[in-house]
Amino acid sequence: MAVDVVMPQMGESIFEGTITKWLKKPGDRVERDEPLFEISTDKVDAEIPAPTAGVLKEIKVNEGQTVPVQTVVGVIDAAGAAAGVPATAKPGKESKPAQAKLAAAEQPKPTPATPQADGSSESTNAPAAPPAAQTKDAAGKDAETEEDTEENETEEEEAEAPAASDGHHVRSSPLVRRLARENNVDLSTLTGTGAGGRISKKDILSAIASGGSQQKAAPSTRPAAPAAAPATKPVSAPAPSAGGAAAHVTLETAVPRERIYFGRYEVQPMSVMRQRIAEHMVASKRVSPHVYSIDEADMTKIAAMRAKAKAEFETRFETKLSFMPFFLQAAVEALRAFPTVNSSVDGNNIVFHREINIGMAVALDNGLIVPVVKNAEEKNFLGLQRAVNDLAERARTKKLKPEDVQESTFAITNPGTFGGLMGLPVINQPNVAILGVGAIQKRAVVVDDAIAIRSMVYLTLSYDHRVVDGATAHQFMGKVKETLEHWSEAIL
């Protein structure tokens, strides 16, 4: 493979050099660091060593010529050279062992299903370094050839894009690498917006908030007992990015693991998002004693208002009119009246939040995410509707930022969207309550001792009985119900 030989920069203020003598001619063999040519500059005359072993293929700048530093003066054909030796001019190459490991760990290989040395198929999903390193040792010559090819690709890439993450040397920072490690994010799949294209804290947090880089599932049938490294290895929860005691959760099985594997089956490792959901649900149930309060509200008035205003609302404000802002507003009223329900628990302390930030559970095709409507208490109906639509849109298109999914003080979820009459949701930590909204259905109800048909909705409040008692919960729900049933705010 061709390696460029360049005019070196001999000092900070030196910008050009003259080739005074070539010590080898095209066709000659040269060893690495063997003197290859002599130069003369303003400050110093020097012998310049060959950057790599090989055969001098071409001389591009002749004796007597003066060229700027970094100009390619010759080319060495380094076929069969030791892997991973770059031309000296290339910026940012690490020492060889580190580079080999990086190359193995972070290559976005075109064929993910390449069978690895040990025959296990979860290599595409488990942290890449150990199995790939095995491959490097085991495969010997193959590995070298692989890396040579990578070198070529890298050289071409680097010629165009300085410092862009090229999968070999991904610029990040200790913090970013730790977060990537803890959240199983492959850095080489991210684009950096930091200086020089590096992956910054913002970038990794965005990636984590959007569910992390999705690893491909590797379907396989495995009749043997799972003695080998399991795909469902327990993973510790990602540590929060700033302070606070992490609730480390190990995902356990309730029966001995062998009992899960029988007959024919297919193992799919959990995506990062799924892992985090699983860990959160376990932790939430373990930490908060869940109690449920169920109520129903007559939505007839609101349903009629919405039906009447929908067309004009959507035309005038260019955004969809749903039922969500009604529920958000009702929740805000109730949270104002019962601040305990807007709190968090820290050991023996109750943390009363002054803002009302309401998370809304949004179903995604592969999981769920809870973007947060911040300062709901300061938004009017239109503001709430816009926030809801914007967050839902960005949740579905994976454009949420870290701050969009943080700092909630309460949450609302809609089992009704999928037809459920009512749901008993899990509290979104570190909140102490969550409101479940069922499907809005016409039902026969008793009004003034007569049967009437009304649009009704079941509302459930899951609450943390450490700090929210039944009386508060039921009164809270009463306030929600009252706000909904006597809706007075104009929405247009």
Partner: protein, 325 residues
């Protein structure tokens, strides 16, 4: 009823209050008695406390410190003044080999305070503008304190006098009469060894002390207008360093800039950077940067001194670079 008090006046109040409170407290130094002190810190105190407790000395820093050590062995709690802290070099041996090691070596505690005006920015030239704190931060057996506000100056002085360890108390002369604030009438102290978060922020942490704490806050205000929110931590005590406050702040913002008026090489920025690498490496999202004075003696020429010292724009520029990284 709170009263507006300058940094210098706050120190003066602390000295008077501590001398009122404990008859063992005495002051010793050049021109502190009859003259009332080169900066008038002890004006009127000779009249109030008498010549046995406000002691004028010849021009010999070694004698001042040596005598103070001896006094402390006899049960007194001396406050030794160095007229300009630059002269501390003259009594370096007394401080490092006697003051700092007396308790360790002979079981003889030295409950004294060494205090004096320090720092530059006042066109004082090389012998009246230095920041020699690091020679003493490097000496085990001492405590080193360097407040930035009038409130802290008073509270820390009281703590220093009451501390049974020797405390070197640096007073920034630039701040002496330039800053003032409301001080409570009630008795209060400020603990030695605790830094203060002067301003909360999310994007980067600026660690600083003394006059530069104010420069850093000004820079932070400027940066806020550009959308960069800097957290400013005022060390207040240099030895022992408040490791926890520093690390917690870096863990929160993930970027660190250290600003000090002391010269660059061997300044406390290196120490803080090493601490952070040891304690919060995986929380760093960028290199640790520092803005300091240049590695030269303090120039006398005003434009040169300005070039030598850190200032708001230099701090803001470094912070911008770090925020962008």
């Amino acid at each position: 009823m709170p009263q507006q008090v300058t940094y210098l006046e706050a120190i003066r109040q602390a000295l008077i209050e501590e001398m009122d409170r404990d008859p063992a407290v005495v002051m010793i130094g050049e021109d502190i008695g009859v003259y009332g002190g080169a900066f008038k810190v002890s004006a009127g105190m000779l009249e109030r406390f008498g010549w046995e407790r406000i002691i004028d000395t010849p021009i010999s820093e070694t004698a001042i410190i040596g005598a103070a050590v001896g006094m402390s062995y006899q049960g007194l709690r001396p406050i030794a003044e160095l007229q300009f802290i630059d002269f501390i070099a003259c009594c370096f041996n007394q401080i490092t080999n006697f003051v700092a090691k007396s308790h360790y070596r002979w079981g003889a505690p030295v409950p004294m305070v060494i205090r004096g005006p320090s720092g530059g920015g006042v066109h004082g030239g090389p012998f009246h503008s230095q920041n020699p704190e690091m020679y003493f931060v490097h000496t085990p057996g001492l405590k080193v304190v360097y407040p930035s506000t009038a409130y802290d100056a008073k509270g820390l002085m009281k703590s220093a006098v009451r501390d049974n360890n020797p405390v070197i108390f640096f007073e920034h002369k630039f701040l002496y009469r330039r800053i003032k604030e409301d001080l409570p009438d009630e008795e209060y102290t400020v603990p030695i060894g605790k830094a203060a978060v002067r301003r909360e922020g999310r994007d980067l942490t600026i660690v600083s002390y003394a006059a530069m704490a104010h420069t850093s806050l000004e820079a932070a205000e400027k940066l806020a207008g550009e959308g960069i929110e800097a957290e400013v931590v005022d060390l207040r005590t240099l030895l022992p360093l408040d490791r926890d406050t520093i690390l917690n702040s870096v863990k929160k913002t993930n970027k660190l800039l250290i600003v000090h008026e002391d010269t660059r090489t061997g300044g406390i920025a290196g120490e803080v950077a090493a601490l952070v690498c040891e304690g919060a490496f995986e929380d760093l999202d960028g290199p640790v940067l520092r803005v300091t004075s240049l590695d030269t003696p303090v120039p006398f020429s005003p434009p040169l001194e300005e070039y030598f010292l850190p200032n708001v724009e230099k701090v803001a520029a470094a912070a911008r670079e770090l925020a962008k990284y």
